[in-house]
């Protein structure tokens, strides 16, 4: 009789502990539910979503995941440029760094693609290459670039068979002109400014 009681106590105690932790874990998995990786989502929302692949990843989302894992720096996104680097640095609380020079190719000056229309043969190859659908036109008809949509990513240059696309710097117009950045932003930009100056580009 004693033995039976002892065995039953043992089972009850062990089941009790297991049930207790099971309940806590069950409650915690509901209470502390996480949808996806919040950091990755936040990084992804700051990227320009051009899915251009210039960062060597297959789109903006994989690049965001790589940043979240700390596998790669925040300076691999030419379409996003300075603004994206600063926003990412602010989110992740790290120092902003200049855009990767291998990818940059003088893109510290904002540019847009312009099609030299008299040379265009209407092959549609640049339309397929454009990640933001900023080129309009149809087969055997002249194409043109919607300047407001173009991110200056250079992806339409290589496919063009007659090399009729050129990158031109954006001119400052009364609508695109901005106030000079305040001092605390400029200080954060110092690292980038050094690169711009050594390249002889425009003053930030």
């Amino acid at each position: 009789m004693m033995l039976v009681i002892e065995i039953i106590t043992a089972i009850v105690v062990l089941v009790g502990i297991a049930a207790f932790f099971g309940l806590i874990l069950g409650y915690a998995s509901v209470r502390f539910k996480v949808e996806g990786d919040p950091i990755t989502d936040q990084i992804d929302s700051l990227l320009p979503q051009t899915q251009c692949g210039q960062c060597s990843f297959a789109g903006c989302r994989p690049y965001a995941e790589a940043i979240a894992k700390g596998e790669i720096g925040i300076n691999q996104c030419p379409p996003g440029g300075k603004a994206t680097i600063l926003a990412l640095a602010d989110l992740l609380d790290i120092e902003p760094e200049p855009l990767n020079e291998e990818l940059a190719e003088g893109s510290d000056i904002a540019t847009v693609a312009v099609i030299i229309e008299k040379d265009c043969i209407g092959c549609t190859l640049c339309i397929q290459a454009c990640p933001v659908d900023a080129i309009v036109g149809s087969a055997k008809h002249m194409h043109t670039v919607i300047e407001a949509e173009c991110t200056g990513c250079d992806l339409c240059l290589p496919p063009c068979p007659v090399d009729c696309i050129i990158m031109v710097p954006i001119k400052e117009t009364p609508t695109s002109w901005k106030h000079p950045e305040p001092h605390h932003v400029v200080r954060g930009l110092q690292a980038i400014a050094v690169v711009v100056e050594t390249k002889g580009g425009a003053q930030p």
Binding site: V13, A28, F32, A68, G70
Partner: protein, 193 residues
């Protein structure tokens, strides 16, 4: 008060959990290849070991011992550790994604770290009280972290240096660990335990 300090010093240096009790050797060899992973593993272990040694003390004192169920110690401690690790993982994932990123896979891996179970059992064996159990767990984990970080730093240097072919890889790591254990024997007698 002074005896609490002695517990910490004793567990970190004199009776180091890795080098003189030989517990937790698998993470010691396994995750000591890079300094960052070693730090992550160490932090996760500090957290879990402190919490689990306190909880297992409570379970043993108020549940197992009064009912004469001392023989259920090991299995219920494993249950406690697994539960705490799972709970910690969920909470950290929600409250601090950054910390979760740092600790990453090492948090669930602690379940299999024998140092955690070892410390819980040692607490019972030494009939430590509540605060002593917590301090013993915390100190052991700090000792574990210290050794892991030191060892990882050394392994990073070794991997960059010119090691004779026969000693490359695990062999030189084992020799290094042995030399470390010898060096830590120098602390013996620092505190009478």
């Amino acid at each position: 008060m002074i005896e609490y300090l002695f517990i910490i010093i004793g567990t970190v240096w004199v009776n180091n959990i890795v080098l003189s009790q030989f517990l937790g050797l698998c993470p010691f060899m396994g995750v000591s290849r890079k300094l960052e992973t070693a730090i992550g593993m160490g932090l996760a272990t500090v957290f879990v070991l402190t919490l689990s040694s306190i909880t297992s003390y409570l379970i043993h004192t108020y549940l197992l011992h009064p009912y004469g169920l001392d023989y259920l110690r090991t299995i219920s401690f494993i249950l406690v550790i697994a539960g705490i690790v799972g709970f910690t993982e969920l909470v950290v994932h929600k409250t601090s994604p950054l910390l979760h990123n740092v600790l990453g896979i090492y948090l669930p891996l602690i379940t299999t770290n024998c140092a955690v179970l070892g410390v819980a059992l040692l607490n019972v064996q030494k009939s430590n009280g509540f605060i002593e159990s917590g301090l013993y767990g915390f100190g052991s984990a700090m000792g574990f972290t210290l050794i892991l970080v030191l060892f990882a730093a050394m392994r990073e240097r070794i991997s960059a240096s010119d090691v004779p072919e026969v000693f490359q890889g695990s062999a030189i790591a084992m020799i290094t660990a042995g030399l470390m254990a010898l060096a830590f024997m120098g602390f013996t007698g620092l505190i009478k335990t």
